[in-house]
């Protein structure tokens, strides 16, 4: 207990001093996670709209597959991407393995299904009259989509926040595709795993505290939007 308290105290002091190594790791984590989430949102939001607005064969099957992908372990995605970007893989010549780009690719694949499913769900919760009213007022498909995006903005924002929470706290992709290289691909979670292996708790605890603060912030953000959604539907 004494050891833990001591580590905790030193971790707080490390955060207070804005330790250079700690700051670099946090900055890389935030940068990589933000880019992954942004790319996934650019793919996932239109995909969610396309699946929701169009009736096509195997639509239900596609939604089932996307739902299943939500539960896929990060190491499986990392392994799959590794197969493509390792030297012997299809995209081996691009030298992507153990780069920040590799982590971004893996994390994007991880959360695209999540954002897509959450967007479909957010649109599904909207009153059908929004769509019909937009159509009868003369909106084309694009204009109807924009209106629905406006009406489902809280749900979509919550989807993006949840996706960010997922990528910033994952470790499998970061470790297997990034390689945990100091000052280059070391993220908060991979650094914590390394410090644990070394038996050094201080940096790990400091990173853990920051990660918890970020997760808490995301949850407050999601709850705020969730509250707005509930207020609207009640």
């Amino acid at each position: 207990m004494q050891y833990l308290l001591e580590s905790f105290g030193r971790a707080v002091s490390l955060i207070a001093q804005c330790d250079a190594e700690l700051a670099t790791i946090v900055w890389f984590s935030l940068k990589i996670s933000l880019i992954s989430t942004l790319v996934a949102a650019v793919i996932g939001i239109p995909a969610g709209f396309a699946i929701y607005l169009n009736k096509f064969r195997f639509r239900r099957a596609l939604i089932t597959v996307l739902n299943s992908l939500l539960a896929l372990p990060t190491v499986v995605i990392a392994l799959f991407v590794y197969g493509f970007i390792s030297r012997r893989g299809m995209f081996g010549s691009f030298d992507l393995l153990y780069t920040q780009s590799a982590i971004i690719i893996g994390q994007t694949i991880l959360v695209v299904p999540m954002i897509t499913i959450f967007v479909i769900s957010a649109l599904g919760h909207l009153d059908i009259r929004y769509r019909k009213t937009a159509m009868t007022l003369g909106a084309d498909r694009w204009q109807t989509s924009l209106l629905l995006m406006h009406e489902a903005k809280f749900g979509i924002a919550a989807a993006i926040a949840a996706a960010f929470g997922r990528v910033i706290s994952e470790i499998g992709v970061g470790m297997m595709l990034g390689g945990n290289i100091k000052g280059f691909t070391r993220t908060m979670t991979t650094a914590m795993a390394l410090e644990y292996d070394k038996g050094e708790f201080v940096l790990a605890v400091a990173l853990g505290l920051i990660l918890m603060a970020i997760t808490l912030g995301i949850n407050i953000f999601i709850n705020y939007f969730q509250g707005n959604i509930n207020e609207r539907y009640n």
């Binding site: 009868t136 007022l137 003369g138 209106l147 609207r232």
Partner: protein
């Protein structure tokens, strides 16, 4: 002829909820659609608004057969507007709600402002212009929805029980608006109602529906 329906059927759960052998709707007139709940009035209005497609039969609009392809439907929907029994306003101010269809049609900001203010004045809702749609009562929503429909001067106005949420004091406003839309703006109107008084006051023709059929 405005609409011509031949052997139109809409099936739901194996049952024909609309089953019309023939129906002709003339332009520039006010038609009332009466009948008990579940008679198929709303479904028929949705088909006339091109929001729902029949499972069988043909619908002709102004001499052209409606093929229900998205490419054909979208321009048609700009000529026909339907207001629901319980209309919904978008999550924006009353002004922005009424402005919405005008923006879709690419009107200038000045033209939109004049038209929106005029439309809100007609339904006695101009003082609510900056209020969010979600803060209005059912009757106020219905009045704003009617203003939003009429602001873009459609050729056909379809109203599903237009006075059902309106208190007695404001019913004459709605009735006058429907009458004015028909007489002054030459808008064809089809409305469903349970009120025979409204039928007598407004309608040129009355169509009575029961079990999906027009009697």
């Amino acid at each position: 002829m405005l609409y011509k329906l031949d052997n139109v059927k809409r099936i739901h759960g194996g049952k024909a909820i609309v089953d019309i052998a023939q129906l002709n709707v003339e332009p520039g007139k006010i038609y009332a659609l009466t009948g008990p709940n579940g008679a198929g009035k709303t479904t028929l209005l949705q088909m006339l608004a091109f929001l729902d497609a029949p499972d069988a039969g043909t619908v002709t609009f102004m001499g052209n057969q409606v093929l229900y392809s998205e490419k054909q439907l979208q321009p048609l929907r700009r000529r026909v507007i339907m207001v629901d029994q319980q209309p919904i306003l978008f999550s924006m101010s009353v002004y922005r709600n009424v402005e919405f269809p005008l923006k879709l049609r690419g009107l200038s900001e000045a033209a939109r402002k004049t038209a929106v203010e005029e439309a809100l004045k007609n339904v006695d809702m101009l003082s609510f212009a900056d209020v969010m749609g979600s803060h209005l009562s059912g009757g106020e929503i219905q009045r704003v929805a009617l203003a939003r429909a009429l602001v873009c001067q459609p050729e056909v106005l379809l109203l599903d029980e237009p006075t059902s949420n309106i208190d007695k004091n404001h019913q004459p406003i709605i009735e006058n608006m429907i009458r004015s839309a028909s007489k002054n703006d030459k808008i064809s109107v089809v409305f469903s109602t349970h009120s025979m008084q409204l039928v007598e006051q407004l309608a040129d023709h009355c169509l009575s529906m029961e079990a999906g059929k027009i009697r």
